[in-house]
Amino acid sequence: MPESSPFKSIALLDAPLDPARAQALVGSLAAGGQVVFIGTVRRENRGREVIRLHYEAYEPMASKVLAKIAGEAQTLGALEVAVHHRTGDLTPGEVAVVVAVAAEHRDAAFAACRYVIDQLKARAPIWKKEIYSDGESWLSHTP
């Protein structure tokens, strides 16, 4: 009996993200639950008003690392994984990242989604710069 290969969708886009699209991509009939994490730009960080965020990625390494992380999530029980991340400039309220996971049951779905976003922050060669009215700053993830 042929095994179906686990489905992953990895994308870095310099255009608005649609979370519904990522969710639709992980619609496996074998899954009893989907978890979708949507990361958005906050209007304030550490007491400073954020005018915009600038995301930069090292392609193709970023896609390679995200695919590896998605594969690890599948080992943890995710059936299908989609990771869509922005590059370029975003204003407060815009979607910066979507992680969508489908699994048979909710425990694995929640755990896998959390795993992917945590690992993305730690390992993916993606950087974020905050632009304020009086300066700018490259941020660093906190483990």
Partner: protein, 101 residues
Amino acid sequence: MTEVRRSGMAGGSPRSSSPEIEVEVLLFASAREAAGVARTSVILPASATAGDLLDALAARFPALAAHRGSLKFAVNSEYAGADHPLRPGDQVALIPPTCGG
């Protein structure tokens, strides 16, 4: 804009022809801003490591030196340590602390 520079070798022109390698360097985020270039090439002794490459870059771009402690390396899109031996044509990326998501 790509520039090619030879890393400093003490003693003027070498008497023996020690083999050299050329590697491509990509700089991102705060490293790019410190150095002022997004990509460059460096010629190094054949036995050079990623750490040796960073020494050469810090000598050429002094503002990069302040970032040394926090930079990671990727060689041909795979994370690598400072002791990773470089080969001709390698693409080495300087990876400042990441912050996706």
